[in-house]
Symmetry: C2
Subunit: 179 residues, 2 copies
């Protein structure tokens, strides 16, 4: 890569920062009440997240800095953004005050469990299998559900968030396929 | 701490999760267009962030898990939340399209620089001084500025964000006072 304007070790981090960028834009689109576009941003983050690791291994430039940046971006794009998107699109507009507050509580728990998962996973340093469900899966799943919101009953969303929050912090092993 | 319902090693993480909780609620209040309350939530996060480290050292239970969780929460509360708050309260309502888009760009850069700072800082593992300006300071400063928004000209906000973004990723040393 000599002579390249961008050093090879920086390239995976560009994808990771793109992951964070799309997570940030998802939040902006939630504020603009464009929930479909917000969900699409989260799926773009999923794509960027799958690329950064692949590129890092291909270029043999995996680093602690890159892993750290990856976790930080993942919390925004797959923890906070899907939780706020689901709350704002599905639960906040609900007629019942009780559902609104319960929904906000569930959204908070989803984001907090995502953070606990990321903090624990980075600490364990395991590369051959996942412990519990990865936050990328949980956030990506909630983003996909958003496209079906005219077809699905509303309660599918909080129930899915509770189950995914639990699965993120649970300790069963899931084999890694490609990553 | 034997017999206590919560193990001592868990106590600092409760403050860290409270930091993340208030950062999450700051984003909810931005969506509700209550920018003063959103800024107050960020200041509560600053308080929680100063407590978690103090409590961890007092109880001698500092851990890699705790440090990791701290970085994750800091990005949401002091990187993403102040950036989205400032964009939404000051820059998005601006008459000029150019300022809106430039403002969004600056908000993104602020959050991204915060992430780079946290990833780099966690890697360096330095405890006696800060390298560059801590994200807690940058986010707390932007939250304080929000209370003065009827008195200050609008351009103070993007200029402050650019300067703070640069200071977060710069490498000069700032001595630690208490932390």
């Amino acid at each position: 890569m000599r002579g390249s304007p961008i050093p090879a070790r920086m390239i995976p981090s560009i994808f990771t920062l793109a992951n964070l960028l799309f997570g940030f834009l998802a939040l902006i689109w939630v504020i603009e009440s464009n929930f479909t576009l917000a969900a699409a941003m989260i799926l773009l983050s999923v794509l960027m997240d799958s690329l950064d690791g692949k590129v890092a291994r291909r270029l043999s430039v995996s680093s602690d800095f890159g892993k750290e940046l990856d976790s930080l971006s993942d919390l925004v794009s797959f923890g906070v953004a899907p939780a706020i998107l689901t709350y704002q699109a599905i639960l906040q507009p609900h007629q019942t005050e009780f559902v609104k507050y319960l929904g906000l509580g569930i959204a908070v728990v989803f984001a907090l469990c995502g953070a606990v998962r990321l903090a624990r996973f980075n600490m364990l340093n395991i590369t051959t299998y996942f412990v519990g469900v990865p936050i990328t899966f949980a956030g990506g799943f909630m983003a996909l559900l958003m496209f079906l919101r005219t077809m699905l009953p509303w309660y599918i969303y909080p129930v899915s968030m509770v189950i995914l929050a639990f699965l993120m912090v649970s300790t069963f092993k899931v084999p890694k396929l490609s990553k």
